[in-house]
Symmetry: C2
Subunit: 376 residues, 2 copies
């Protein structure tokens, strides 16, 4: 993997860059659609590549481990071959799902034991076997196994937790560095900064993570319920420590406004279920603000979902038609809304990138965050 910085915004810490992987390049800042179980919900891979223009997607190790399982993915020749997405893929470590989906779980130094939310079967995730699992899934970028603390989180717990996350990181790196990719293309391991909303812990964790000198770095444990101002404060502290010449990935973030504010603080990569999950509930993100398409006011609005766009579905379908589909629980409603939101998120980061390169990012961002937060 290679990362090249292309431009820096003069009035903020925003930067434009390019990540090169064996499955192609990714222009940053970038948003990565979430393809939980090997599918970005309600979207064809053809649409992801050509209509949404996604450059990289995310897969969830926990979900893929459960279904279809490692044996099937390995026989297929890795996730790219299994789902037919030939561009870069990033997988998380499965930790977040273990903490959020499994009712019964026990965190020990060795790792985490938990029961599957699907069939109740018992499993143990350790730093070592999570590296092995991600070798088998075969993503281009894989994540360290960490503990993602909830919000709120007591200081003492958060302090002990980052210590364990750092010890786990050492074990992840040892395993990763003594194993090989399985399918003939290289993989990179990103470690994760934790520390809840405590500045000293975030600083300490960022310094520790940076000292591992991996090819990129991530920030986890944010967007878990804390106020946006606390999130931005943590991002700022951590970005000041993480090396400039490596990509920075803010995990699980967020709203369009969150994304622009964090780009301004020096983040390069984002993922979030919000554009896809909210789409299935009828919430659309647009340049001019947020639309709840279920509302009565769209009932007889026959204008295109978005007129100023190159997305076929925004142009071909009206707001009234989409509202009808969502109210009638038609699958096509989820398809159209998901296409819209993901296309908008990719447009937003692409536009941000162009503004960084042209030196106009800061003022554009300040204007946009007003617009994007409006309710239409």
């Amino acid at each position: 993997m290679n990362f090249k910085l292309t431009a820096n915004d003069p009035l903020s810490k925003a930067r434009a860059g390019e990540i090169t992987t064996d499955h192609g390049t990714v222009q940053t800042p970038i948003f990565m659609p979430v393809g939980t179980a090997g599918s970005v919900k309600a979207v064809h891979q053809r649409e992801l590549a050509h209509d949404i223009k996604a450059q990289i997607i995310l897969g969830n190790t926990y979900h893929l481990f459960m279904r279809p399982g490692l044996d099937t993915i390995e026989r297929a020749g890795g996730l790219h071959r299994f789902n037919g997405w030939n561009k870069p893929i990033l997988t998380d470590s499965g930790g977040y799902q273990v903490y959020s989906l499994s009712e019964v779980r026990k965190i020990k130094e060795e790792g985490v034991t938990f029961r599957s939310h699907i069939d109740g079967s018992k499993h143990l995730f350790t730093p070592e076997n999570v590296m092995d699992t991600q070798r088998i899934i075969g993503a281009d970028i894989i994540m360290a196994f960490d503990e993602c603390t909830p919000y709120p989180c007591e200081y003492g717990y958060a302090r002990r937790s980052i210590d364990m996350t750092h010890r786990w990181l050492k074990r992840c790196c040892d395993r990763f560095d003594t194993t090989e990719p399985k399918y003939g293309y290289s993989q990179s391991l990103f470690p994760i900064v934790q520390g809840s909303v405590y500045k000293d812990l975030r600083k300490q964790s960022a310094e520790e993570i940076a000292s591992f000198e991996r090819e990129g770095n991530a920030i986890g444990g944010l967007s878990v319920g804390e106020p946006a101002e606390e999130m931005y404060a943590m991002t700022e502290i951590v970005c000041d420590i993480l090396p400039v010449e490596k990509p920075r990935y803010l995990m699980g973030v967020g709203t369009p406004v969150n994304i622009l504010e964090n780009i301004a603080l020096g983040i390069d990569m984002f993922d979030c279920v919000m554009p896809t999950r909210n789409a299935r509930n009828g919430m659309l993100f647009t340049k001019n603000g947020i639309i709840n398409i279920r509302n009565e006011k769209w009932k007889n609005d026959f204008s295109p979902i978005e007129a100023d766009t190159d997305l076929f579905s925004d142009l071909n379908y009206s707001k009234a038609y989409l509202r009808h589909l969502v109210h009638s629980n038609e699958i096509l409603g989820a398809q159209i809304a998901t296409l819209h939101n993901l296309h908008f998120y990719i447009w937003l980061v692409t536009e941000a990138r162009e503004k960084i390169i042209s030196g106009e990012f800061y003022h554009w961002k300040n204007k946009m965050v007003q617009q994007l937060a409006q309710r239409l």
Copy 2:
């Protein structure tokens, strides 16, 4: 509307033709995908036109009347404008849904009173207001309001029922012939032959229906649980009476085998929820037989869903991936399986048409019905 017969099969009663409407032509025999509430479930209109190559779709008057309602459809300028499908549309009369979906319904000479399956609201469908409703929806071909008898059905009930259906037809025609299309393109009304599985009633109904001399004729009340042999016997009797020079539409039929056998008896048009509904449950219809993609045997079958095809999704995705999606209740599973089944149904009728034109239909049909019924 215009119907032109192009070819007759020398060894069966199969025929090839072309229907011309103000929204374009339809080459027969044809299968019409069902777009219940203005959407063929899980399929974009772009995919319907370009990938599946559908020529005409069906809308359900009952569902459209409930949601989005006539006011919205009329303001949109009709269903074509509302859902963005610019090719021909056929609507049923709503009768079948009133009988099958509404728990509380009362059939009287005036019409049918029933409660909505969605909100319990009370409604009355009459021959007259169903014509008005279909004028507002604006389909190219609209259906008479009839009583669709269940199976089994007592002889006396079936006899009285066709008498009422014929009286209702007179009222439908009177209303239709004294009203105008609303959106500047013409509409045609098809009456429906009923009579359960009684040969004399079917004969009587077909003669009565033919005497109205409408632009096309339909056969209803079949594929409601009777053995296939009874269905074919009824189709044969009715097709011998319905005029040769007008299209014949067999409503709600059926499996690929049913379709080929009924083409051989002189049917030109079909619709059925089977390819779409069964797709969502993981059943695929293929040239070589039926696949239940949920079965263990496809778990590690990484071959394309269908290799000998021009359909992008059949080529891009494997059976193992589709199986995984269906097991994981991923929306993309419904999308891929629906595309496959509809593409197959359209391929089947298109192939049948070519075989009729080349004079090879009969032997090809007899070979295909063996193949299509196999379980893979």
